[in-house]
Amino acid sequence: MTARSVDLFTVEVIKRALVSAAEQMFVALGRTAKSSVIYEVLDYGCAVVDRAGRMVAQANGIPPFIGVLTDAVRDVLAKFRGRIRPGDVFMTNDPYMGGATHQNDVVLVAPVFFNGELVLFAASKAHWNDVGGKDPGSWSPSATDIYQEGIQFPVVRLVSAGEEVEDIVEMVARNVRAPELTLGDMRAQAASLHVAARRVAELCGKFGVEAVLEAIEISIDQGRRHALAELRSLPHGVYEAEEFIDDDGLGGDPVPVHVRVTLSDDEFVVDFTGTGKTCAGPINCPLSVLISTVKFAYQSVLSPHAAPNEGFFAPLRIVVPEDTVFNPKRPAPISTYWESDAYSGDVIWRALAAALPDRIPAGHFLSVCGTTVSGISDETGEWFFSVEPNAGGWGAAAGKDGESALVCTNDGETYILSAEVAETRYPLLVEQFALHAADAGHGARRGGLGIVKDYRIRNSRASVTASFGRHLYPPWGFAGGHDGSTNGVEVYYPDGRIDRRGRLSGEVMPAGTLVRFITGTGGGYGDPMTRPPEAVRADVENGYVSREAADCVYGVVLAGDPLALAVDARATERRRAKGNPAGSEGSPTASKENPKASKAKPRVPKATP
């Protein structure tokens, strides 16, 4: 690098100020939005992007928004270069262009000028409650094309030199179901861009535009160097894995997801060739979402706490063939993209896990396991509408057991609903909310437990929608660890009928019906016969592992009554000496190959060139 005009401490002060500009934009939008999906579910993200469309700083509520706003800025530049003025705000939500995820996630971009010069962009993306389309709320598990999923904004000018473009605003208002709410969120979002713009302008005033831009160059270069240093410490080679998504979103065949990851000194290549075609149902994942999920996977493997700027992602290269579920063809529906995008990260982790067992845990329950319970309350005569994600089991890694009951990778600082709040708001009785000790995920390190939650309907009728992916294919274990267990919904009707499924679409249920939501146990790591007997004893005492599984799968013989169990060391030694009884008779979890089990095919790593 040539002589710098700013010293490295000044660079740090500018870097922090830019991060704080993104964070303050994030807080401002959370504070001023009217929809709970923004301020409670945190389904939004904010970023500062440079004038070449490179990521400078960001603040996200959920991981899939990482690095996604750069493409939107590039689209703005491609369309409006030379016509961008102070006070402009641009809007896009077209999933087939850059930066958008589904139409609900609307991106706004504002240029930041200082003394007449375009310096940076502030951009944010937020989930609007409704953008039209065939179903209320716009995203729809049964959409068959994108026109059913809401209005599309190609990159349009929403605010022109400080004045709202009335025609556009009216058009938005006419195409959404709750215009007051939507326009409220839209204006809050536009206003929050100015919070960042003000901070950036202040910074330019204090240090000068040149110093700010140079600090950005240096910080991007630092990000690149950091990533390369990490990359050099990884085992180079080619790694492959394959998985299957349960179905195409409309009940069709499983969809294959295939990845080939190549690690070298200066590149992290992710190639999805071999992945299934564009689906008929709305589980297709727009390219921007795919890129962002892959960025998340890359960051999690390389350095979870690195500042995610453009330089940090420089070594990442993504190959994804057209007309596949990860790069679908217009006008395929995409509004429940999260049903497929999570697999793109999962399959990368699966490919690399055996080589990086202390950085990557076994597979987790993966699906958002989103549920909607709605109806008209007998008591108040008003609509109730509960939408929530569920927690499930995470996989084990070399250094730790899996976590029990965490939200999936698609969710981040996302809180599950309290039973007391749920009962106050909705005519439901939560009869249990407990950890679910499935007989799965065994290993030297154990997979974490999922949950079981029982909702009893206390209304003459209620409609339940649930989308539980990984209903057919359990989370994967590795290095001798067992697979976890699947997610699913069980419905116990008052007439005695029982229904077990992965997806429910607006199922109407009478009073007294009990809906049981179950999420999976995460995959295990390592041979269960090597788990310390004392840990197995504690597992049994705590009810995480059954006494039978302790005996058959872990080879640990316990004695004494349930409140004071002790390891019979000699019997355990004898049992373990006989070798792994998995597959032997009487084992409740013989690791039988699931006929449909997905597979990781790690290749022997090549020697470093």
Binding site: Q24, R31, A391, S404, A434
Partner: protein
């Protein structure tokens, strides 16, 4: 009986402040904290301070005994009893992944293992109706299991117990009878707000520290009484008020932030006296800086405190009122370091007291904030702790220069760089309590204390456009001093979701009225003499269908319209919009205060008659953007009252140093505070 005494145990030092009520004279003391037996440290401090306990009318104690037991995990073996189907709530928690890009995230381990979490049959609804009566048989079975499992404390938390306490109260009584000697904590004694995980965790943590806190306070009380103390014995609670020893022994979790709160109460008091209604308390010590906002003289309280929460960890929620404090890893001992990508950082790692900053000459070689302050001329090597300790400039220089070399900077620039960076970190914390909560920092003054507060306050104030800084007398013992001014406080919060409109207004009034009567009765049980008992009433209001609630005060002569207008205005300030939607109450909240007589603050001696008598040798000080400048140096106590000094200047005192920037003016007011002023820059 004319003295009041406050003793504050901190991580390194135990501070004592004794006030003579008739003369207003203050005695200060500082002794080393005695971690093995805190009570010894308290008694040492009292002995060294020459305080005759028979003279003491009121003893206030700030203690880290609760927070230490929690963070060091040295509490007791707890069993939890819940409604059937809900024992795992403590482990499921809210399931959030705070560290979202980290696949190896570990969620907080529950304080009660699953094997000690028991369920009993009982069920009530959110309205408090009984769906299934309490099974006493189940409770007795649990009691047997607890005794067989060597449990040392029991926590009971039932679903919707905030709306129906009878089941919990009955279970508690049965368990106490069946398990003599094992203390039982029930959730309704601690909080009556909804959300089962938060309430359960609060109850569990109270049970976890109860035997430790009980033993400590009991033994301390006994020893103080044996030495002649007859006055009232109070603890400093996290809610910004004091409480009796007796109550704290039962409900010790209220002492979780006992230490830092005293300073914030003190900040509110000195600011009010100086005519500053809005201020930010800024406490910078060796390892962390703590900030808190005081608006219109009122300390900000929140009920969503989390133990050990960080940007990468969810921590443990406590649904109790705690003064709203934001803490950042920035202190005198914070270490400056370079990461592998070439990025610079200051903190959160601290050199602590041992080895300490390089300039302490105790073997530390890493550059710290204190080293940078010394090199930049802000500290006098020969006048650190009033000369009790000499700083080693050479060691500081080596440490800072070696970092500077690696980033291509000389030692001067590197030292200034460290100061700028630590200030940037603290600025972020200050913005979190102001800008991010809808406050404009320009409407606030900064009250700076703690060992390092005065060194950094002037730069921070300038960055945030804060016009006035107040540095109280004895900033090193300020927290203990604040405790002397604290009134008794107890909070009563009830979740009861009710519409708030003309049809329900009478009902809302009677709910808050009942709660107020209950709150005021509570002091009678405490056996503490208060001058006046009074109550502040609040309701958490929100727009129906929204989640955010806004704590809205109810004033004496309020009618519904005035209350709603106040809510709309507060909502607009916090969330930038107001709606025409129906409004509902979520929580009723009463803060009951027992006012104690306040000592009047003594005015200081006028100081010297001339500035020159206060003046020490000028020295060269480095300022951002100006480089080395010759600054005048003054001894704080000798500065004539109300005489303006223009920056650049440095004001020294035994345990602290204040830096005045060019463009700022400082004076010492008649109460001994330093007041720094900077004219607003556009």
């Amino acid at each position: 009986m004319s003295r009041r005494l406050a003793v504050d145990i901190g991580g390194t030092f135990t501070d004592l402040v004794a006030l003579d009520e008739s003369t207003g004279a203050l005695d200060l003391g500082k002794t080393l904290t005695t971690p093995g037996n805190f009570a010894d440290g308290v008694l040492d401090a009292i002995a060294q301070g020459n305080v005759d306990l028979a003279d003491v009318s009121q003893f206030v104690h700030g203690t880290t005994v609760v927070i230490n037991a929690l963070t060091e995990r040295t509490g007791c073996r707890v069993a939890l009893v819940t409604t059937r189907g809900f024992r795992d709530v403590l482990e499921i928690q809210r399931a959030n992944r705070t560290d979202m890009y980290n696949l190896l995230y570990r969620k907080p381990t529950p304080f009660v293992p699953r094997a000690l979490r028991f369920e009993v049959r009982e069920r009530v609804t959110w309205k408090g109706e009984v769906l299934e009566p309490l099974s006493e048989e189940d409770v007795l079975e649990v009691a047997t299991a607890c005794q067989r499992s060597d449990v040392e404390a029991i926590a009971v938390c039932f679903l919707h117990a905030y709306a129906h306490v009878e089941h919990e109260a009955r279970a508690k009584r049965l368990l106490e009878e069946a398990c003599p000697g094992i203390p039982v904590s029930a959730s309704h004694e601690l909080t009556r707000e909804w959300r089962e995980y938060e309430r359960t965790n609060t109850t569990v943590l109270n049970a976890y520290v109860r035997p430790v806190a009980d033993a400590y306070l009991a033994s301390l009380a006994e020893q103080l009484e044996a030495r002649g103390l007859r006055g009232s014995m109070l603890t400093m609670q996290s809610n910004g008020g004091t409480s009796s020893f007796g109550r704290s022994r039962r409900l010790p979790i209220h002492l979780v932030e006992s230490g830092p709160v005293g300073g914030i109460i003190g900040a509110a008091a000195v600011a009010r006296q100086a005519g500053l209604e809005n201020c930010i308390a800024f406490d910078m010590g060796g390892t962390t800086a703590k900030v808190s906002v005081i608006e219109s003289g009122e300390v900000a309280i929140r009920t969503d405190y989390h133990l050990e929460r960080s940007q990468t960890w969810a921590g443990y929620p406590l649904r109790i009122p705690v003064v709203d404090i934001v803490e950042v890893g920035a202190g005198g001992g914070s270490i400056a370091w370079l990461d592998e990508g070439g990025g610079l950082h200051v903190g959160p790692r601290s050199a602590g007291a041992s080895p300490g900053p390089a300039c302490y000459g105790r073997g530390g070689t890493l550059p710290t904030v204190t080293d940078a302050n010394l090199l930049a001329g802000r500290l006098d090597a020969d006048y650190f702790l009033a000369g009790r300790m000499t700083l080693n400039g050479e060691s500081a220089r080596r440490a800072v220069a070696s970092l500077g070399e690696r980033v291509g900077l000389g030692e001067d620039d590197a030292a200034m760089g460290i100061l700028r960076l630590v200030n940037a970190n603290m600025q972020a914390a200050l913005e979190r309590v102001t800008v991010e909560r809808g406050h404009d920092p320009r409407d606030f003054a900064l009250v700076a204390y703690g060992g390092a507060g005065g060194l950094h306050a002037s730069s921070l104030a300038r960055q945030l456009h804060v016009g006035t800084i107040l540095i109280p007398a004895a900033p090193g013992q300020f927290s203990a001093w604040g405790m002397l001014l604290t009134d008794l406080r107890q909070d009563f919060v009830r979740t009861r979701v009710t519409p708030c409109n003309p049809a329900t207004w009478e009902h809302v009034r009677s709910e808050i009225g009942d709660l107020t009567s209950e709150a005021l009765r509570s002091f009678a049980e405490e056996r503490v003499v208060v001058e006046r008992a009074w109550a502040q009433q609040y309701v958490d209001l929100r727009y129906a269908g929204q989640e955010h609630a806004v704590l809205t005060p109810i004033l004496e002569d309020d009618d519904l319209d005035r209350l709603l207008e106040r809510f709309h205005a507060l909502h607009e300030r916090a969330y930038a919009f107001r709606l025409a939607d129906p409004v509902e109450v979520v929580n009723y909240h009463v803060a009951a205060w027992g006012t104690v007589r306040k000592p009047s603050l003594r005015e200081v001696d006028a100081g010297s008659t001339s500035l020159s008598a206060a003046r020490k040798k000028d020295r060269r000080v480095q300022y951002e953007g100006l480089g080395w400048v010759s600054a005048r140096v003054f001894e704080r106590d000798r500065i004539p009252v109300d005489r303006a000094i223009e920056g650049p200047a440095v004001i020294e005192e035994p345990a602290s140093t204040t830096v005045v920037l060019p463009g700022q003016t400082v004076r010492r007011d008649r109460f001994g505070n330093l007041i720094l002023v900077e004219e607003a820059t556009p």
